[in-house]
Amino acid sequence: MGSYIAKRLLRSVLTLVIILTIVFILVRQMPLEGYFPNFEKMTPEQIKNGLHSMGLDQPLPVQLYHFFRDLITKGDLGTSRIYRQNVPVAEILAPKIPVSVRLGTMSLIVSLLLGLPMGTLMAKYKGKFFDHFGTGVIVLIEAVPAAVYYLFIQFYGTEALGIGMTMLGDKDFNNWQYWILPVLSMSLGNIAYYAMWLRRYMVDESTKDYVLLARIKGAGEGRIMFRHIFRNAFVPMVQYIPTSFLNTVIGSIYIESLYSIPGMGGLLVDVIKKQDNAMVQAIVLLFACVGVIGLLLGDLMMVALDPRISLAKKGGDK
């Protein structure tokens, strides 16, 4: 197990390096004029000097080498050039990370609290009204693009709650009312996802022999549902939870800009448009880290819950 995790971590680091390299190269393809706000008025000389001061005139491999050298030896992600001039990237990101994590965690809790009971009830009343009703809701959430229902939640939600459209600026940050709508918007997709899969797994489990045995022993339906079926159906679900947490944090790009939440998601769009290379790289690195850790955690949680599964034997086939 220990050696498996070590191997897995090594692979993860390798993956991160490749992702960073790809993004680094992509970012370097951005148009030159984007780096200078007054490009048309500049002489070729000025442009050359400007590029030199940013280190952009060096060959790509050299730039890449410098980036990784600074990152590994000094833990330095570079300094922001445009978003906030000459401020280290780490300093800009530090206060934003907790905001995104807070939003992500809240939405994870809400989706588990609503999604799991919904899936369980749908499986329990399979083919009855609640099942059909739930399926309808899930189809709607899955099929209507998130971009659209976010808008409607924002619009009708703010009217219903009687709060203004602009929200979660600094002054409203700790007012819980302002968190309801963004958290709800972010949770809907996951609620549908958890409910759909839990129902499916529970229905699959319910025809198995151990359920029949439990019934023969005289266990009550409620007990069979929660103590027997739910536990087994939950194991494959566990694997997705860290990944879905990651997707929530990344998917927050849209929500954070809708509600002007000072988190990471809205920031990414902003810095890509401003061509602030160091910031883009840092945020992508952060997202990729969360992704890799999420996959690893998911596998480990599954092993912890189900003693029949052994990761070491499969050799990271997953």
């Binding site: 951005m30 693009p145 971009a147 409607f152 790009i253 800009s257 890509i272 448009k273 990729a288």
Partner: protein, 337 residues
């Protein structure tokens, strides 16, 4: 005990019994059947056609059939609409003469008999824009789904069938799967020239790997089954094994994935337009209409400008979703009884 029998099997048996009763009279049921040599040679498989059964199962699903016809009508209409009389160019900013006799743009006029859905804030006809936008969005969605399916299937078959490539593809998958698609989408559409091609490329550049992985897993499972080993020993060409023995198994799930990636791509277009990186300004799309409409959400009298594109978008995406699911159910041979 009833529990031991799968409900679907039970229902099928009941149906068969009922059919027997309908076709044969009581007398025929209990009389000795004559021996017919030709009849004994007949096999059940002869009359079974996979595609015919799939279509029959699909036609039984009334909701899916209704949505399919609706979708076909919408697609046809996006092409017919510009040919109808009294239509406007979706990009033409219409002008009007105001009370003082000056020519001014028709800003946000409400729907009337000339402009059926009114005009937007620079005087473009919203009815024309709605259908041109639907056409473009559908085109993006279908193109992305086709590219993903084509590249995904080819790569997936290679990945699963050519053992030497397995390591390469697996590592590639591990990397690509960890890059958030949203980031690729934003970066690519920012770096390349804005346009339909760019958007389609940005969406399918990472999307194919999911399809490839699915195809690969299935190929691995089916590749060494006895009938394929037998086929190989008989000297069947590899491409024939892949086309005739492997891919038909995957049709249902491939169709489902395609049907789901169409609304996905249309939704991505809405998102990328919202953050300001979408199509050029002379190409209308549902994303553009929704982004423009969103700005009017606060003034109730102009809210209809958002409502119509949203309705079309929702109808299209929900239809693809339900049709995809219905077709994948129908394409599953276990449902052909």
């Amino acid at each position: 005990m009833a529990l031991l029998k799968h409900p679907r099997v039970d229902a099928a048996e009941q149906r068969a019994t009922e059919a027997l009763k309908r076709e044969l009279s009581e007398q025929e049921l209990f009389s000795v059947a004559p021996f017919d040599e030709a009849e004994t040679e007949r096999t059940g498989a002869e009359s079974y056609s996979y595609w015919r059964s799939t279509l029959r199962a699909f036609r039984h699903n009334r909701v899916a059939m209704f949505l399919l016809s609706l979708l076909v009508i919408i697609v046809l209409f996006t092409f017919i609409q510009p040919l109808l009389p009294g239509q406007f160019d979706p990009n033409l900013a219409n002008n009007t003469v105001n009370a003082k006799g000056q020519t001014v743009p028709m800003k946000n006029t409400p729907p009337d008999s000339v402009h059926w859905l009114g005009t937007n804030n620079i005087g473009q006809d919203l009815w024309a824009r709605l259908w041109a936008g639907t056409r473009n969005s559908l085109f993006i969605g279908i193109a992305v789904a086709l590219i993903e399916a084509l590249v995904g299937i080819v790569m997936g078959v290679l990945w699963g069938y050519v053992r030497k490539l397995d390591f390469f593809f697996t590592e590639l998958y591990n990397v690509l799967d960890n890059i958030p698609t949203t980031i690729v989408l934003i970066l690519v559409s920012f770096i390349l020239r804005p346009g339909m091609g760019t958007l389609i490329f940005a969406m399918s550049v990472t999307g194919w790997i999911g399809m490839a992985r699915f195809v690969r897993n299935q190929v691995l499972i089916i590749r060494d089954r006895d009938y394929n080993v037998a086929s190989r020993t008989l000297g069947t060409a590899t491409w024939r094994i892949i086309l005739r023995n492997l891919l038909p198994y995957l049709v249902s799930v491939i169709m489902l994935r395609m049907a789901l990636s169409i609304p996905g791509a249309i939704g991505s277009e809405v998102f990328i337009t919202y953050i300001g990186l979408g199509l050029p300004s002379d190409v209308p799309s549902l994303g553009k209409l929704i982004t423009e409409g969103r700005k009017l959400l606060t003034s109730p009298s102009k809210r209809y400008q958002l409502i119509y594109p949203t309705i079309v978008l929702s109808v299209v995406t929900v239809s693809f979703y339900i049709i995809g699911n219905a077709f994948s159910d129908a394409a599953d041979p276990r449902n052909h009884l």
